[in-house]
Symmetry: C2
Subunit: 356 residues, 2 copies
């Protein structure tokens, strides 16, 4: 079968011919439909994040997948079920995070991530997975099923952010999403019914398709070139929740001041080292005197994937369509890895739901 | 009656003769037993924090009080009840934070704090208070009742810290208290039965009474001159919870790296401005990839005062006695405001429970 992989040190994805995997005990064989591409894939290809399975010199890419059960094998699934796989797998033997169904809380070294670190991903015509790591969804969602994984990332971050505010009567009205990439735009849509007012910060000038998308939700676009995070409270309002999806390392620190009293920042970006000055005294004081919170959040677990399926179902198809820049078949897979200013979300198509 | 107050700009506390207050509707008249002194009092005296009630040029000090009901007036309390007052009061008219019984969550300008900002404190022979702001405690606790307020500060901070970890199975084993002042030492004792291993960081060399107190709990003293926060994970262990009570602005940022994966920092200090360099990229990344959280916490509400009464009851009298450096009567009240390296906790005694 064909698979899209990166050889160690190659710096670019290539098409490989690999044997079709055979399901082990407790696993199903899944025919891949679509696999999304995100920033992590670009980092993995560049070699700045993740790594190949032990003893191998290449990694099959892809962690945002949707597929169809081809062979239920000894699972309770049925051939034809549309499924989305979770990403983390136990490394060598299980551990308490996997036993608790919370692999998302496992620290470094206590997990593999399919398509990212230590385990092959889903960018192949077929993959196998344990039943416990497959979430069923309605076939009507198959087309956009590769968005379940990124949505689950937000489900988790929101769960943790809300938990941090659960010791008092928190009545948030406004939310700010930092970043107008695909994750930011998915999150903004998820916020539509949770907050009275939403804002999305980006650094693009008009005209730009993401600004149109933001405004189609009734949300306010904030151009960071005009209004940096520090000026948002004055120019717009101090948000009750800030969701950071930029990976810009100054954003969490600027957010401490920008938050409304009793507000929370959910941080999701993974920046490189960057040393800069802060007024640490003022930030510390502001955190304390206004009861503010910061939660870092990575990955997601099965429960959050299930919530993501519900969220995906609640988002309008035209909105989802507006986020998908291109879906490319195997012959032109390189186009899916293009990363220019016009790309919101690309995916690779391996097969279609209707027929192979 | 006699009261200890600071005149605007005077920079020191003085004894004033004031009329005895009369309880209004819903209020009781309380005869003051003891009032503790803390860092906030020193800041208020220095003029760097808080302020006198509107239209007045002095502020009666004191926010850590215990007293005896002298006149129940039209409350359901009884003469002789031992009570501790909460600190925040509605400023001009009430607001939703007071209506929710969460004045601790009110932002700047939406509260007065007795003895700190906008309202006279409890360092007077008598004070009045609404019944809703008085917490009854067993007379056997009267001697140490002035510790209920600082303990309630920790109750709140812990409540918020634990809430932030409630979205997953958090099984903390170790806690680090930054600061060996009275709040740090009270907190350390409260941690004794919550964590398997506790640590307390200070900057004092041996011999020192606080180190003896820390070790009497079976806790480990960490001298920050030998082991800065950044080296604690290597030298001791990465704690699941860090409680910051130093007001040292670098501590929250250093704590992000020092925390164990999935750990939480409760920040309580209120530092002045201080600009310094951080590796913001590394801190941001660490927060996210290891699901860490920071919660700022200030003040406390009635529920947390009630929890504090329970906690006070569970702490041993010899331990409490070891924290109280001196209890001074009105004639030598200045000694209670001494702030040297040998002081842990001072209080002023206005009367005794047994008789006036």
């Amino acid at each position: 079968m064909k698979a899209i992989a990166v050889r160690d040190g190659a710096g670019e994805a290539e098409l490989l011919e690999l044997p079709q995997p055979e399901p082990a005990a407790g696993e199903a064989l899944v025919r891949t439909l679509r696999v999304g591409v995100d920033g992590t894939d670009h980092e993995v290809i560049a070699g700045s994040h993740g790594g190949s399975p032990e003893g191998e010199d290449y990694l099959v890419l892809g962690h945002e997948a949707v597929g169809v059960v081809e062979d239920a094998h000894d699972t309770t699934l049925e051939k034809g079920d549309v499924v989305v796989p979770t990403v983390r797998r136990p490394p060598n033997g299980t551990n308490r995070y996997f036993e608790n169904d919370e692999p998302d809380m496992a620290p470094d070294g206590q997990y593999h991530e399919r398509g990212i670190v230590g385990a092959h991903g889903f960018m192949a015509e077929y993959f196998t997975s344990p039943e416990s790591a497959l979430i069923k969804l309605n076939p009507s969602l198959a087309e956009y099923g590769f968005l379940v994984e990124p949505i689950s990332i937000t489900e988790k971050a929101l769960e943790h952010a809300e938990a941090s505010r659960s010791a008092f009567e928190w009545a948030p009205e406004s939310a700010l999403v930092l970043g107008n990439g695909s994750l930011g735009l998915l999150t903004l849509a998820m916020f539509e019914h949770r907050f009275e007012r939403t804002y999305c910060l980006g650094r693009r000038d008009r005209p730009d398709p993401t600004i149109d998308i933001i405004e189609s939700l009734g949300s306010t676009y904030i151009n960071s070139n005009d209004t940096p995070v520090s000026e948002i409270p004055e120019t717009y309002e101090a948000p009750d929740l800030i969701y950071e999806a930029t990976g810009y390392a100054k954003h969490p620190f600027e957010s401490i001041n920008a938050l409304a009293p009793n507000g929370v920042l959910a941080a999701l970006g993974v920046p490189n080292d960057w040393t800069f000055e802060i007024n640490g005294g003022a930030l510390h004081r502001e955190l304390v005197l206004h009861n503010k919170a910061i939660v870092g959040s990575v990955n997601s677990n099965r429960r959050q994937f299930e919530a993501a399926v519900e969220s995906l179902n609640s988002l309008s198809k035209p909105y989802l369509a507006s986020l998908v820049t291109g879906v490319y078949d195997l012959e032109s897979f390189e186009k899916a890895f293009a990363n220019d200013d016009t790309t919101i979300k690309n995916a690779v198509q391996f097969s279609t739901y209707e027929k192979r």
